[in-house]
Structure formats: C-alpha cells, structure tokens
Symmetry: C2
Subunit: 300 residues, 2 copies
Amino acid sequence: LNSAHFADRLEAAVRAKGTALCVGLDPRWDQLPSELTDRHGGETLDAVAAATEEFCLRVLDIVAPMVPVVKPQSAFFEACGPAGTATMQRVLRRARQLGLLTILDAKRNDIASTAEAYADAAFDGVAVGKRRLPVWDADALTVNAYLGRDAIEPFLKSARRDGRGLFVLVRTSNPGAGQFQDLIANGKPLFHHVAAAVGEWTRENLGNCGLGDVGAVVGATHPTELATVRQLLPQAWLLVPGFGAQGATSADVIPAFRPDGLGAIVNSSRGITACFSPSEKRWEVAIETAALKSRSGFPA
Amino acid sequence: LNSAHFADRLEAAVRAKGTALCVGLDPRWDQLPSELTDRHGGETLDAVAAATEEFCLRVLDIVAPMVPVVKPQSAFFEACGPAGTATMQRVLRRARQLGLLTILDAKRNDIASTAEAYADAAFDGVAVGKRRLPVWDADALTVNAYLGRDAIEPFLKSARRDGRGLFVLVRTSNPGAGQFQDLIANGKPLFHHVAAAVGEWTRENLGNCGLGDVGAVVGATHPTELATVRQLLPQAWLLVPGFGAQGATSADVIPAFRPDGLGAIVNSSRGITACFSPSEKRWEVAIETAALKSRSGFPA
C-alpha cells in the first residue's frame, strides 16, 4: 500500500530527478526499430506484442535515471490484443521496479460499478471475494469527465484508498479541441466548468505539498488556455501533452508551472521514443540523447 | 469484409429477431452463478476470467435466438487482466458465429493516431506492415466526443472502411449526467450540441434504411431528453441504456423509437444476466425467461 499521498509522491519524484519531464510510451509498430520488428516479425499480434515489449523495456531502462514518471498509452498496447495487455502489465511493473511513477493514459469513463471496475483495475486491484487482485497497478489514470461528478466518484474512491491520482481531460491538445470544450455556458467556456470541478475534487484531498490528487490534462499546443487553467487550478497538478512532436516548445509549457517551478508534468512521446528512423542502429543512444535534451527544457 | 452498411445490418437483425432488445454483458464476479465461481475459484485473475468466459458463452447460447445484438462492457473484461481481454475476444467471436451483432461498450476517446489505434483494434484490425491483424472485431463501438470532431474522425474512417458503426455518448443514464451535459451554450444544452454533431456525422453516410452509421447513446432514465434527441436525430440509431435494473420501464423507452417502430436499440444488462441470486441452480432458465419477457417490451 502507498502510505504517501499521490501529489506528494509526484512532487518528491520530480524533485529527486530534477525535471518535470514525463516520457510517453506510445509504441507504434511502424516506428519501432527495424532491429526489433525484423527479429520478431509482424505475422501475429503476439509477435507484435513481443517486439513492443522489448522496445518499451529498453526505453524504461534508458530513461529511468533521468525522469520521474512515464505515461504508457493504453491504446497501443490494446492494439496488440490480449498479449499486448500482458505487455502493458509487465511494462507498468518494470517501471515501478525502476522507481518510476506511472500514469496510465486510457481516458476511461463510465458510470457506477462499471467506473469502479475500470478504477480498481487501474489502481490497487479488483475485489474478488475478500481479496483484491491487482491488474494494471498504475499510480495515476487519465479520465474523461463528460459523464459528470457521480461518474468520477468511483475513480476518486478507488484512487484515494491507496494514494493514487487522476488526471481529468480539461483542454486537449488536438487542433479541434475547442468544438465542445470552448462552448460558452454561463459566460465561460465548457473547459472552465470542467476545470472548476477538478478544483473541487482536488481540494477534497490535498497532500503536504499543497496540491491535490486530481490533476488536469491541458495541451501545450494551446498556451493561452494553459495559462488560464493554471490560474483556475492553483492546487492541481497539470499534465501537459503536446510538447515535442505535436509542436509545442519549452516556452509554450512555461505557463503550466507555478511560480515555485512545480505543479506540472510535461509529456513527450514521439519526440523521445520515435526520434530515430526505424533503420537507425544506434536508436538507444538517440533516445538517451533526446531524453537528456528534453529534460532540461523547463522548470523544476 | 462487411459489404453492407452498419445501419442496414442492424435494421435487418432487428427485423429478423423481431425485437430491439440488446443484451448487455457486464460480468461482475459477485453476480456470477456460484456453480461457476465455486468450480473455477477466485484465486487468480486467470481463474476469474475463465469463470467469466464460461458464463458469457452460456449467455450467448441462450440469448442468440432471441435478440439481434449484444453489448459486452469492456471494463469487466479488462478487470480480469490480460486473460480477461482474451475472454472478451473469444466472447465477441462466438457472438459473431451465432449471428449476433456486437457493440463493444468501451467509451473510447483520444486523438489522431491514438484514436486510430483504438478504432482499428475495435473494427477490422490493426495495420502491421501490409496486413491488418484483427483484435476485437466488433460491429460497433461506443465513443466519447468531448475531444471534438477531429478526434472522432479516425473512428469514422476506420468504421467506414468495413461497414461498422459508432455510438456517441450524448445524454448518459447516470443521475448526475446533467452536470456538464445540460450546461446551456448558445441557448441549448451541451448534449444538443453533441447531438447536432452526431447528426452531421451520420448524414455523411446513410444506409438504404435511411439511417446512418453514427448513433447516439441516450439513457432511458431521462425520458424527456430521450424524446428530444429522437427529434434532433431522425437519421441516427439510438442506443438506450438504463432499461431494467437501472429503473427505466417499457413506457420510458417508447420515445426512443421512430413512428415506424425502428431506430432504437434498448439495452438491458443486469435485468437479464444478473436476474438471479448466485446460488440459483436454474440460472440459465432465469436468464432465458428474463430475456423472453424483456424482448416483447417495446416496438419492432
């Protein structure tokens, strides 16, 4: 069991590694090193999962000394079928063993006992009779709040049983994010309403560091909205995707940080784990160099 | 490959079975027959998955002659870990073999190539080199549209390659659904804006039956909103959860149907698959009886 609060664990990890960089694990088959895809072949999903696993475990070894947290993207593991979900489980386990915090990026959402099933699987385990059987055992999970507070409640309950955290989608990094998120209701855009809810939820359970266990996902590709959400949510961790391959720069992510240089995690996926062409033999060096360069790009 | 349009395949299935009833597969450990949980035991996730699989396959055999479509809830299979996802794959395959249409209820959402990974896995398979490897191979998938049109686009593209369909969350069945979904923007609630987007998307690709391949999820627990969405979306299939165990009655779901008695699928999960106490020996008869009773409760 995690005796410490999620926000405090994240703060300690960021301070220990001296960077707010999060490495996203988005393993796409056509971006894996050919050294691996040639050896495993792509005849079956099991072979694809095996190449994916070997790649992700190598990436973890390389980045573990340099970053506090990694973010596996569930979609790419699920896309390798049942073997891919076994890979995801082992990748999450290895990350924990290497002292990394893990954010499972799955954008889950549902109601009542269904939400509870997602949450328990993500965190401390599914109740079977009197025991809990761990499934993904991640430190945090991304969730979508369109269904409202009572649908987030089971995720909060599960997370709080064992010092885990949530990141709620507030303003996403895609070009068309504003279609619904920017609609004006009661004088302010929808994403402000979602941010306000995140503020309420996170204030229910603050850690010693002054931040709570419910954070917000805000794309670095929208710097103005990022600054707004930082202001709306002084007590929430921000998870900031969009840095690197999606186009956002170090300057774009600065508004995500509090004046003390804490409070945000900046994710880079392809900018680190797909920074080489598949035929590159020295891909491990390329990943190490990209991670080293990225980690010094912002406060903390 | 599916040569027929998703809406036409759904219409034909509803007409053939003479009912709009969809059986939801939400296998919760504590609601499985003790005959199965005792035999398999709950010591490991693999054992839990095995009991879950035996139960779901029996349910499919029982309901296949009576209903056109089943809706496996991904959360409960994922909660059994990698073995549970293998179970989900086999349950979906058996459903297809029995001539049932399948709606994978996973409420997925993400952007760009990540959304594409979810969609390809749900539908005709993930691209690996020059081939596609099937993963879940469902006929339809539930999705959450908070991220906007460009995040739905990859799901549309994948679905349309092979006659599959989407159901977008519009007004969900939980008590607190209105927190964001009812916020008024430009004079109408958010869920009307999402419904309008569904209308645009579904009109892009209408089947011979006059309905499109993008439907809306609207809870039967909110009959007024259900009637409104039916009016807003004359060309969309509605997927209506909340019937039975969640409290909605046959009268509540009537507004979901068009005057011709078509256009809606009504889901019942626990009302059919958890209609018995775990110690009940004749649970298969109980399921058959509940399905028979439910299937005559509404038009089509």
